[in-house]
């Protein structure tokens, strides 16, 4: 439920970010020091950090280190990964799927976020609710729902045939269509909330100014609105991309063998073959790709903020 978790955290964080934007946050004081000396509140961090180190960082570190130590010390696991085309194929699949899902999410998410920001009060409330509902619902439940919706004799095919759009029911399940359908559905909120937060920050007078200065709506949008919302867009897109990389439930239930993704491979390596070394190496690659994406985001959005 990895995606489930990220999505919820970003939900919470962005929902509160939205609140920060709406309420006027108190101006930052040049920060104070009640005690002047080392703050005793550092002790409050101890239990959480201890748990994090003992039950997360430590175990993950051990898993990753097995890439170099299991079954024997060396780079053998990486040589294996390189030589077995199947593994690289899965890594490539994973990145491709993430790279397809991300722009789809952005294209659907942008108008929705726009309506959620600039629509009437009622529309805004409804949209926020509608986007939050799946956010709070178990990924498993939603993926299961998609299986029913997409099956050959399912409601979607019945509708398509009924409307005469297709003579035969379409194969929507256990292939790339099914996987993307489920993935985009799960990921949409990831891109909608950061975009919404960014759009709230755009002063509406900027667009008015652009229009009075002679830019047509399309140009005003491209030259003013889009650049101003770009940090939110990039944040959302990166979130979508890296959470897609870690997908397990969705490809397992909606995709076919050709859509096997890296998380499934890691699970197989451990549960089926006990290849902890390969599993560690794959985990390391997965983390590396995610890390690079986050770094890129940091650089671009960071630079953007400086430039403004």
């Amino acid at each position: 439920m990895e995606t489930d978790l990220t999505r919820k955290a970003s939900n919470v964080a962005s929902a509160h970010a939205i609140r920060t934007d709406e309420a006027d946050a108190p101006p930052a004081l040049p920060r104070r020091s009640s005690a002047g000396r080392m703050d005793v509140r550092i002790l409050l961090l101890v239990p959480a950090l201890l748990l994090l180190v003992v039950a997360f960082i430590g175990p993950v570190g051990m898993l990753l280190s097995r890439a170099f130590t299991h079954p024997q010390i060396g780079m053998q696991n990486f040589v294996d990964l390189w030589e077995r085309r199947g593994y690289l194929q899965v890594l490539w699949n994973t990145i491709t799927i993430a790279a397809i899902a991300t722009p789809i999410c952005v294209l659907i998410g942008f108008p929705v976020a726009h309506a959620m920001t600039h629509g009437s009060a009622r529309l805004r409330r409804w949209l926020i609710f509608i986007v939050l509902v799946p956010f709070w619902t178990s990924l498993l439940v939603r993926t299961f729902a998609n299986v029913i919706l997409l099956q050959r004799n399912g409601p979607l095919n019945a509708m398509l045939v009924g409307l005469g759009l297709t003579a035969e029911p379409l194969p929507l399940l256990y292939n790339i269509t099914g996987l993307l359908f489920g993935a985009v559905q799960v990921l949409l909120p990831f891109v909608i909330f950061p975009l919404h937060a960014a759009m709230l920050r755009v002063d509406p007078t900027y667009m008015q100014a652009a229009l009075t200065l002679g830019a047509g709506p399309a140009r005003a949008f491209l030259r003013v609105y889009l650049p101003l919302t770009m940090p939110g867009l990039l944040t959302g897109a990166t979130l979508v991309f890296i959470s897609t990389l870690g997908y397990y439930v969705t490809p397992a239930m909606l995709g076919g063998p050709r859509q096997t993704m890296i998380a499934q491979l890691i699970q197989d390596q451990i549960a089926q073959f006990g290849n902890w070394g390969i599993a560690g190496a794959l985990s390391l690659l997965l983390l590396l790709v995610s890390g690079v994406m986050l770094l890129l985001l940091q650089l671009t959005v960071g630079l953007k903020t400086v430039a403004r």
Binding site: G86, Y87, N153, T260, F273, G274
Partner: protein, 357 residues
């Protein structure tokens, strides 16, 4: 390993079993254990899920719970890797597991099972060919070609494995198990290899044959999924187990099976080594051997009994679905469990790699 510990299963053996010739016919019911003597104990029973496990629950576990007072927890689906990992971990979570014959053979070599306690299990009830020092056979079953009666209504229906690979005559999605076992045999037979020349398997040839239908194939990972695919009309034909096809048909799904080139096999109940409830586990196996219980299971899901005395109580309407039916035996062959014992791990890895390409 001597041949004695791995009795080679033959077609004649299965035929014999169905006719009640194979072993001593058991009678006398259960041994006198005190009722409720296992009250408070929990026994974990692992099997293959879905309709089969439901039937096992009703036929074995419920009577067992009633007699002994023990509580049975169902788990599954059975997974060889998980089984091994449990034994390596020292304290297996499962107490009784339903395994296929190839895994029984492999597991004996790897010391995965507790020895059957013959003071608890009356092995004389069961056809001797299905009695092993480490497991007792519970069902006899087969892999079959299943097809949708709706998709092929009023048309030629598929009969042989070659038909499954014939995308022109039999269009539409097909299904095979996401499992190297049996899929290799099916592909080779479709490619023209006669059953008696299958082993040792020409794996690369089989995979090349499979490449021809790969894009049109959905691979089921559990037997229940294979049923669901037919129920949903997601596929038109493919590989199913005879009992699963029966169950789907019984529940109203438009499915029929062909008995041509069926691949026969046996499931055993075993006790994982180090089980914390080994004695209770043996009692559960003992309850399984009772003819009434075996007949009940056969009536629910059309898997044939291993206790010859059970056949008497099997509904005659079920008979055509049983793999032990003489006609069905004639058209099929028995899977080579020794071959799979020796090659399973290697072929599984090859299979996993093929799937990804």
């Amino acid at each position: 390993m001597t041949d004695a510990s791995y009795p080679r299963l033959t077609r004649r053996d299965i035929l014999g079993a169905s006719l009640g010739l194979g072993g001593a016919v058991a009678f006398g019911g259960q041994k006198a254990f005190g009722a409720d003597d296992l009250k408070g104990k929990t026994v974990v029973f692992a099997s293959w899920g879905g309709a089969y496990q439901d039937a096992q629950k009703v036929s074995y576990c419920d009577p067992f719970a009633q007699i002994t007072g023990a509580h049975v927890v169902q788990d599954g689906p059975m997974n060889a890797a998980k089984f091994r990992a449990m034994i390596e971990g020292g304290a297996p979570d499962w107490d009784v597991a339903d395994v296929t014959i190839d895994f029984l053979y492999a597991g004996i070599g790897d010391r995965l099972f507790e020895k059957i306690d013959r003071t608890i299990v009356d092995t004389s009830r069961v056809d001797t060919r299905f009695v092993n020092d480490y497991g007792i056979g519970c069902i006899v079953w087969s892999y079959n070609l299943g097809y949708s009666t709706k998709a092929f209504a009023g048309r030629e229906v598929p009969k042989t494995w070659a038909d499954v690979f014939d995308l022109k005559r039999f269009p539409g999605k097909r299904t095979l198990g996401d499992n190297v076992v049996a899929t290799m045999e099916v592909a080779l037979m479709a490619d023209g290899v006669p059953p008696e020349q299958l082993y040792p398997l020409d794996v690369e040839r089989a995979l090349r044959k499979l490449d021809t239908i790969k894009s049109q194939t959905i691979f089921w990972s559990t037997n229940s999924q294979s049923q669901q695919l037919f129920v949903d009309g997601e596929v038109n034909l493919g590989l199913v187990l005879n009992g699963r096809a029966y169950d789907a048909a019984k529940k109203g799904a438009p499915i029929a099976i062909s008995w041509e080139q069926n691949i026969q096999s046996v499931d055993y109940l075993v006790v994982p080594r180090g089980s914390r409830n080994a004695a209770a586990a043996m009692r559960l196996i003992e309850v399984m051997t009772l003819p009434d219980n075996q007949a009940k299971l056969a009536n629910l899901i059309a898997y044939a009994p291993t206790n010859p005395a059970a056949f008497g109580a099997v509904d005659p309407q079920i008979a055509p679905w049983l793999s032990t039916q003489p006609d069905n035996i004639k058209r099929g062959f028995v899977i080579n469990a020794e071959y799979w014992r020796d090659n399973l791990k290697r072929l599984q890895e090859r299979w996993a790699a093929w799937k990804l390409t």
